[in-house]
């Protein structure tokens, strides 16, 4: 049996046998080289209660070259692309070591959700959001967790769908309220603010006149 196959089979078996493990690995089709890993969102984070799936490709020269992983579940996180799920993590690149395993890598991903690295971002917009307004960032991340990762909606959180829409767009509720108070339709305000990227560091750069101008179009 070739070394890669033996190693991957053992990793999958070990993971299955480990009942205490917090991560799981499943085969996608019959190939052991295309897998799906999953784990729960860490407690005390906006991702808590969510379930996250990761696409895993075992390259030809595994384990001497790093495994390829990306999120299948949409995640709002500075080091994960909000579009493609691509992950920026050093052990998936030049800090990879052949002794690292699928399981340890998945656990590292889980830990990444606890401790973002906004200085080494994958998604610059999300990172900016994280750095400039934590509460607003947390709200959006939470909303994504509820919508995409199956996290339970907390009772005190906005039950109105419009608020959810604000969080979803990565906007501040206060901003939306302000322009709505000027007499514009809420949906339109959200749309314009999203298009102008009225988030985080961009906020002071975009004048109210400009926004109103857009709203009047």
């Amino acid at each position: 049996m070739d070394a890669r196959l033996r190693r991957v089979n053992k990793e999958i078996a070990d993971c299955k046998n480990d009942k205490t493990s917090k991560v799981s690995i499943e085969l996608v089709d019959n190939s052991p080289y295309h897998l799906v890993g999953s784990f729960d969102g860490p407690e005390g984070t906006p991702y808590e209660g969510g379930h996250y799936e990761v696409d895993i490709i075992i390259p030809e020269s595994y384990p001497f070259q790093p495994v390829k992983m990306k999120f299948i579940t949409k995640v709002y996180h500075p080091n994960v692309s909000s579009q493609s799920g691509a992950i920026c993590l050093d052990i998936l690149k030049d800090a990879w070591s052949p002794v690292l395993t699928l399981k340890s890598t998945l656990i590292s991903l889980q830990s990444l959700l606890c401790s973002p690295e906004p200085n080494d971002p994958q998604d610059a917009e999300v990172a900016k959001h994280y750095m400039t307004s934590r509460s607003s960032f947390d709200e959006t991340a939470r909303y994504w967790a509820v919508t995409y990762a199956g996290a339970p909606r907390k009772s005190e959180q906005g039950s109105k769908d419009v608020d959810a829409e604000v969080a979803m767009a990565g906007l501040e509720k206060a901003h939306v309220d302000r322009f709505e108070a000027l007499g514009f339709e809420r949906a339109k305000v959200i749309d314009v603010l999203r298009r102008l990227n009225y988030r985080g560091a961009n906020v002071p750069k975009i004048s109210e006149d400009r926004i109103v101008e857009e709203l009047l179009k």
Partner: protein, 527 residues
């Protein structure tokens, strides 16, 4: 003029008889570079009292900067050894252990940054020890492949043990896939570096990979030295040394086109990434031009096409040689391939196909016609640039055709094989001059209008005309009656073309040295 005289003359040119447009350079084989590297290693070995492999690692860590290495080493040898992956930091992954327990935190610190941060604290100096693979008496299970039939293991001085198979696969992957000569221990977070001896041992059964590793060492050395450059031609292992072009600032006054020792066709620019001759234009301008062409490629693509319509009868005409004097097969209309104008006008003094009429763009008033004028201006130069490039590409066909003609000549006249070589020489010269001409259009596009530009374009036009005439001579159908006259004509014309080319190259090079050329936009290095 005799063929032999021409031949000698040509050789003298190639050798660089102090030509301004030639640059002095040397070609070094891989073995030559290895000898230079060994000298550095021996020097460090002697001064620091370390073994050769350690000296090599230290030098590689400092990108072969001996002075910096010695300075830092004298300052804090322990920190240097640690940073260079020669010794383990005091608090490091426990040796002999299998992979660190399932980590709970992501390992954000990259190896490199760990290695480079000079930690205070003692280091235990460990001597690199290479021993034959050790047979583990008790059960040894390699932490990478989990193959319990593997009983032989190897470890760096950190004692992180892995089976020989895994070491081999790992190093092979680093060398072959990543082209990496800096090979660290496989254990997570361990930054010890494998010595050359260790690598050689692991690759004992894979001599090709070991060879590649040695090539990577040479490439790393070459890339660390500004006066060296590795030949960019595929699978060539030669290096060119060109100290006079080592600094960025030198590139505003010269075009360092060099040739490696492996083949005369391995011609490349020492100063930039263009792996071809781009004289007479300097690297900065060539780069601007290439970028411009890339950006505007769609607009200009049609020009490159091999077919055009005759402007008289609209039948499709295909270009299949380098000559720009086209005759429509159908209506016999003679025209210039580049400007599509009648060829008859190209012979007279008042007509110039190479010069763009700047007046048109000056007259342009509104923005729209201005942008159209600027596109037209660009297309004027691009058209000619692309045309010479295309003609040079067609030279392969031209060579084949010429060879046939040379055979024909031998049959129909009493000329020997040696005596018909004038044809091949002419083709060589034409393709060489087309390269020059091509780049003169990039140069002219960026030259500020004025006296200097006009003089430049005069020289350009003279060369272009001479090249077209020679091109026509060698592409015309062969008439056995006139072979001796043709030979005389071609030989004379070749000498003339060569002289014109020389004038363009030499005068442009001189202009760079004198700072005579002014640009119509800012060019890297010029201010």
């Amino acid at each position: 003029m005799d063929v032999d005289v021409f031949d000698t003359d040509y050789k003298m040119t190639a050798r660089g008889r102090g030509k301004l447009y030639e640059v002095d350079h040397d070609s070094l084989s891989q073995a030559d570079i290895e000898r230079v590297m060994q000298k550095d290693v021996d020097h460090i070995k002697g001064v620091l009292d370390v073994d050769g492999d350690s000296a090599s690692i230290l030098l590689r860590h400092f990108n072969w900067n001996k002075e910096k290495l010695l300075e830092k080493y004298m300052d804090n040898a322990t920190a240097v050894n640690e940073a260079a992956g020669l010794a383990l930091p005091e608090r490091s992954p426990q040796p002999g252990r299998s992979p660190r327990p399932q980590s709970t935190g992501p390992t954000r610190t990259t190896r490199r940054s760990t290695a480079e941060s000079s930690k205070s604290g003692k280091t235990k100096a460990i001597l690199e020890r290479i021993s034959p693979p050790v047979e583990e008496p008790q059960s040894f299970v390699c932490g990478i492949c989990f193959d319990d039939s593997q009983t032989k293991y190897l470890a760096l001085s950190c004692e992180h043990r892995f089976c020989t198979e895994c070491w081999n696969a790992y190093i092979t992957s680093k060398v072959r896939t990543e082209a990496e000569q800096w090979i660290t221990c496989m254990a997570d977070g361990c930054s010890l570096v494998a010595s050359n001896l260790f690598v050689q041992q692991c690759l004992k059964k894979h001599p090709k990979t070991w060879e590649r590793f040695q090539e990577l060492l040479v490439r790393h050395f070459v890339s660390s030295n500004h006066s060296l450059k590795y030949c960019p031609y595929p699978s060539c292992t030669y290096t060119v040394s060109c100290p006079s072009a080592a600094s960025k600032s030198s590139l505003t006054s010269m075009v360092p086109i060099v040739t490696c020792g492996a083949s005369a066709s391995h011609k490349f620019c020492f100063g930039c990434a263009i792996d071809n001759d781009h004289r007479p234009v300097v690297c900065g301008v060539a780069k601007l031009w290439m970028q411009k062409c890339q950006d505007d490629s769609e607009t200009a693509n049609w020009i490159k096409s091999n077919t055009k319509e005759c402007s008289k009868c609209q039948s499709t005409i295909e270009k299949n040689g380098g000559c720009n004097h086209m005759t429509c097969k159908k209506c016999k209309y003679e025209f210039c391939w580049v400007c599509m104008g009648p060829w008859s006008e190209h012979g007279t003094a008042w007509y110039s196909c190479n010069r763009y009429d700047e007046k048109a763009s000056v007259d342009a008033r509104d923005a729209q016609s201005k942008s159209r004028a600027s596109l037209e201006r660009y297309l004027h130069y691009y058209n000619r640039w692309a045309n010479h490039e295309q003609s040079a590409k067609l030279s392969v066909e031209l060579y084949a055709k010429t060879e046939k003609k040379m055979e024909e000549m031998q049959m129909t006249s009493d000329l020997t094989w040696i005596e018909v070589q004038f044809m091949k020489k002419a083709v060589d010269e034409v393709s060489k001059c087309r390269t020059t001409l091509k780049w003169t259009y990039a140069m002219a596009y960026y030259l500020d209008s004025g006296n200097q530009k006009e003089l430049f374009e005069d020289n350009q036009r003279d060369l272009e005309r001479a090249v077209e005439e020679l091109s026509e001579l060698i592409e015309q159908p062969l008439d056995p009656e006139v072979v001796p006259t043709l030979r005389q004509k071609v030989t004379d014309k070749t000498v003339y073309v060569q002289k014109r080319n020389e004038i363009v190259l030499e005068d442009t090079a001189k202009g760079f040295l004198e700072g005579r050329w002014q640009w119509n936009q800012s060019v890297e290095g010029f201010d």
